[in-house]
């Protein structure tokens, strides 16, 4: 088992830092090109949600990112904010549902995360914050890859 934790401010430029850091941490276990793309996208979706929704664009909130992987190549990513929370998670999960259409959001972030993840969970408390938990099983490495 190996793990890492990052805590960063909800400044927009930190989203690129977050997704590239996760991928850099996972390099020792050789994710495939497709897996890297899906992981980057899920992290981006979750972090942008913390920034845009959790903290309503205010760039002084804290975002915590935890990543770990085990000997079976199961990756767990947890992304947490301490922002406004989600009133109705079932509604939020609906494809194309967004509370920020005026900011040109599409309402696809949660759908994309749950599609790319092998297991996806979201918990939220109003005025306390939101946590998403993503599990992703990496492909079995062939002998050449090792």
């Amino acid at each position: 088992m190996n793990k890492m934790r990052l805590m960063f401010t909800s400044k927009l430029e930190n989203e690129a830092f977050a997704r590239t850091s996760v991928v850099a941490f996972l390099m020792p276990i050789n994710p495939s090109v497709d897996e890297i793309m899906e992981i980057k996208t899920m992290v981006a979706e979750a972090v942008v949600n913390c920034m845009i929704h959790g903290y309503d664009g205010k760039e002084e909130g804290d975002i915590q990112l935890d990543v770990q992987y085990d000997e079976n190549r199961m990756i767990t990513i947890q992304i947490q904010d301490y922002g406004c929370g989600i009133e109705n998670i079932d509604l939020a999960m609906q494809p194309l549902y967004t509370t920020k259409e005026h900011l040109e959001r599409s309402g696809m972030g949660l759908t994309i995360m749950s599609t790319f993840a092998d297991d996806f969970q979201i918990t939220s408390t109003l005025e306390r914050g939101t946590t998403v938990l993503i599990k992703k099983q990496l492909h079995v490495e062939s002998e050449e890859e090792k």
Partner: protein, 105 residues
Amino acid sequence: MKHQYIDGTLYFYFYGDLDNLTVCNLKDICIDLIEKYRPKMVRLDFEEVTFIDSTGIGFVLARYKQLMKSGGELVICNLSKANMTLFHMSGIFQIMKYERNGVKL
């Protein structure tokens, strides 16, 4: 991003990581260019785009709506396999055209 205007068509060519911050920085420029040229057609080319997320989908939907007001048409061009997967999830191709290749800058 590069753009060019030929015969009523406004072309946008995006490249690199089209993430939330990048879209935030490009959005107003695109809105203003469409406003300025009032094109019959806008073509958004994603050939050189290495990363995109739902922010990009929101951006495309918003430009589609912007163009609808002036009766213009929007075409999405040259998505990579991974980017295509993402756009498909949104059902965007039920309302917008998709093409490969086309005029390159």
